[in-house]
Point group: C2
Chain length 135, copies 2
């Protein structure tokens, strides 16, 4: 349980190029650009050491992500932490009484397996569990 | 400019013990508990590898942080990245045309020097620059 690390921090953004340029000015480098059709987003991942700042742009303007963003050009959306075995972690969280959005993992960016904890169990902040692909 | 790393992700929380317990259940360990009078907050820092999840509880119920939190028990507040020399970084950002809340650094948790970039220059997301104390 110890040595927990973050995987990424995600922002919903109005314009990917604009947001990428901002984080480039701040000194971050682009790690990847990817469309994750399953989640309905284009993602630019900015490298932050072992972590990533994920800039998310919904493909559908009617996406709940766009409603979440509202009038902001960028808005912090979720935090993700990394585990070695996401199925084990989801079972553990469920046993601890936490409500999960995803009972089983789904596909995230670049081969990650991901699942979201329900905000009702985290005081309103969206928290993601993430298992990176085996090398 | 390369090799940029995050320092912490901060959440405003309604109750520090409640939030600390949640992040403990998620697998994070407490790194520090500190009152930062200059910023008017009690902070619990949860260890996330080299980064920290900072749980912030304003000392004053009338704090703008509390208004930001609103009806949520927890709400993502800002992201901080780490630099070796914050004065150099603030000058660089200013030269790049970004508006700063703090022209010069002030004191953050455990000896960090910190400064905030104005949200009008970051699309609405609060971004902090942070210089850890020399060892």
């Amino acid at each position: 349980m110890s040595g927990r690390t973050l995987d990424h921090v995600a922002l919903v953004v109005a314009d990917l190029k604009e947001a990428e340029q901002l984080y480039t000015v701040l000194g971050f480098d682009v790690r990847y650009r990817e469309r994750v059709a399953d989640q309905g987003v284009d993602i630019v991942g900015m490298s932050a050491g072992d972590e990533t700042i994920e800039l998310l742009k919904p493909l559908d303007p009617a996406s709940p992500l766009e409603r979440f963003r509202g009038d902001h050009r960028t808005r912090l959306h979720h935090v993700a932490y990394r585990v070695a075995d996401i199925e084990v972690e989801l079972a553990r969280l469920s046993d601890a009484g936490l409500r999960l959005i995803d009972q089983h993992p789904r596909r995230g960016a670049h081969g990650n397996l991901i699942a979201f904890i329900h905000p009702s169990s985290t005081g309103g902040t969206l928290v993601e569990v993430c298992q990176p692909p085996a090398d």
